[in-house]
């Protein structure tokens, strides 16, 4: 959104502009660029061999695979939920809709620690369900299922939050047209809705994934910190840090920071594509054809 042709009277004095830009850049530099730079400079401060040895350590590898496993379960579950919730909320009128949206947003305003606590109370040994689980030798607390459930909770709203405003803005007209042309509901979703929402959906997925892989508080409460068994990468970072293996902690942290940067890059590409699509569809006359012309398959496989 550039305003390169803005006339002078619409903007501030050059000095004001310069000072405001300097303040903003200094703020972003101190609070964002510097910490990010520090993570990588600390991580390689003991050389490449130390870096490799820390990553290849069995505890670190176990943490990495558990983190990948957790995201691989929690993300698809929340994608299905998010798509269902968005379909029900945007295509139908029903009572209590705004209440439902509030409930979906609830995990955003709950401390991750409180989320972990709720599952401890639900599945822990002092509850009826917990005693039953112990009797039948099902492990949830201090085990992988607990970590997955807690991660699902903290990432619960992301996909729905991304899709609801998008689908609301797009309306239901094309889906109605698809129904008239004889599609069933699933076909209408797959061939009409999905191509329209794919970038928003992808954005939701990468946000969910970033949070799922990086979640600390909720997972920390529920995992029991069993080394090599219930440690995710963020928990492994904490353990190394508390053992005063600062460089080791930063090595593992740098892996997560790379993930964060990858997330930002994908996000920027998505926004860039979206802006281009908007510009293109504005350039053409607004017709349903532009919507139908988009390729449909990519996201279906990605999710």
């Amino acid at each position: 959104m550039s305003h390169s042709t803005t006339p002078d009277f619409r903007t501030e004095q050059p000095l004001t502009r310069w000072i405001l830009t300097a303040i903003a850049l200094a703020f972003v530099f101190i609070f964002i660029a510097l910490p990010l730079f520090l993570i990588f400079s600390e991580a390689i401060s003991k050389g490449f061999e130390f870096y490799q040895a820390t990553i290849m350590h069995s505890d670190a590898m176990a943490a990495i695979s558990l983190t990948l496993l957790t995201a691989a379960i929690a993300v698809p579950l929340n994608v299905v939920f998010g798509a269902c919730a968005a379909w029900a909320i945007t295509h139908f009128k029903f009572r209590g809709k705004s209440f439902l949206i509030t409930l979906i947003d609830l995990p955003f305003s709950v401390s991750p620690v409180v989320a972990g606590l709720m599952y401890l109370l639900l599945f822990g040994s002092q509850s009826t369900l917990g005693t039953w689980l112990i009797e039948h030798d099902y492990k949830i607390i201090f085990a992988v299922p607990g970590i997955v459930i807690a991660t699902t909770f903290v990432t619960f709203p992301f996909v729905a939050r991304e899709l609801i405003p998008l689908m609301q803005a797009q309306g239901s007209d094309e889906e109605h047209a698809a129904m008239v042309l004889g599609a069933n509901g699933f076909q209408a979703f797959l061939k009409v809705t999905l191509p329209k929402i794919k970038w928003g959906l992808l954005y939701g997925i990468i946000l969910t994934n970033a949070r799922a892989m990086g979640e600390f508080g909720a997972v920390s409460v529920i995992s029991g910190h069993i080394r090599g068994a219930t440690n995710t990468i963020p928990l492994h970072v904490e353990i190394l840090y508390n053992e005063f293996n600062i460089t080791g902690a930063f090595v593992c942290a740098s892996v997560l920071a790379l993930l964060a940067i990858a997330t930002l890059v994908i996000k920027t590409i998505i926004e860039w594509r979206q802006n281009k699509l908007v510009a293109r569809s504005l350039a053409r006359t607004k017709s349903a054809q532009t919507v139908f012309a988009m390729p449909a398959r990519q996201v279906a496989t990605a999710s």
Binding site: R10, L106, S220, I261, L264
Partner: protein, 278 residues
Amino acid sequence: MNILQKQYSVLPGFGLTFGLSLFWLCLIVLIPFAVLFGQAGQLGLNHFLEIVTSERVLHSLKITFGTSLAAVLVNLVFGLITAWVLVRYQFPGKKIVDAFIDLPFALPTAVAGIALTTLYAPNGLIGQVLQKFDIKVAFTPVGITVALIFISLPFIVRTVQPVLEDLEVELEDAATCLGASRWQIFANVIFPAITPALLTGAAMAFARAAGEYGSVIFIAGNIPLVSEITPLLITAKLEQFDYKGATAIAVTMLFISFLVLLLINLIQRWSNRRYGMN
């Protein structure tokens, strides 16, 4: 199926999608919540109050909500300036700066925590400079605020940015023609238009900051009655298997958070009515 007669039910799948959503919502969110409040209810009012009004809990609540408020206020000022600069001015590298605003969303909190601690520790890059002026950041409430500024920064920028982009420049032109200065235009034309977005961003930032755990525990030093935040106190209770204490504190925290969100919501409604925005 007749489209014209059943306008809102022509699309199928309501039962399936609504049912699945509700089922998942109950399983992941509502049942755990019910259990938490059920457990808190079993404590009894006296016991509950006894836990919650202990000195350590009260102090941690003060720290948690005080530092969150401070962080949100800092971000309201600097976040607004950042959003303004990103929307209105041109400078080299603007797209990269814009992309990196979202870093706190994407960077795991524990990673942010150790990075900020290393920066602000007395021997750290920024800590060294600040120590010359005898300012201590790491292991004090100021350090907590720094961490919370980091994690809540994108909330304000990202809610204000789109509103600033969509602002009608014609209104500013009209104000200019009527002889208003740039500052008057900002204060009387632009600021009222972005107030709802600022409040929304502030509410989300505050909710996130108050519950934050990962980035804070490293930089806070976690000294009881000095720099201990409430989420950390909950984990401390859990480590001693004091589930009742943890439950009571958690419920109190949720209650205060919702109260603050409700308050911001009311202010927002008031400002919407006053300035006639949708």
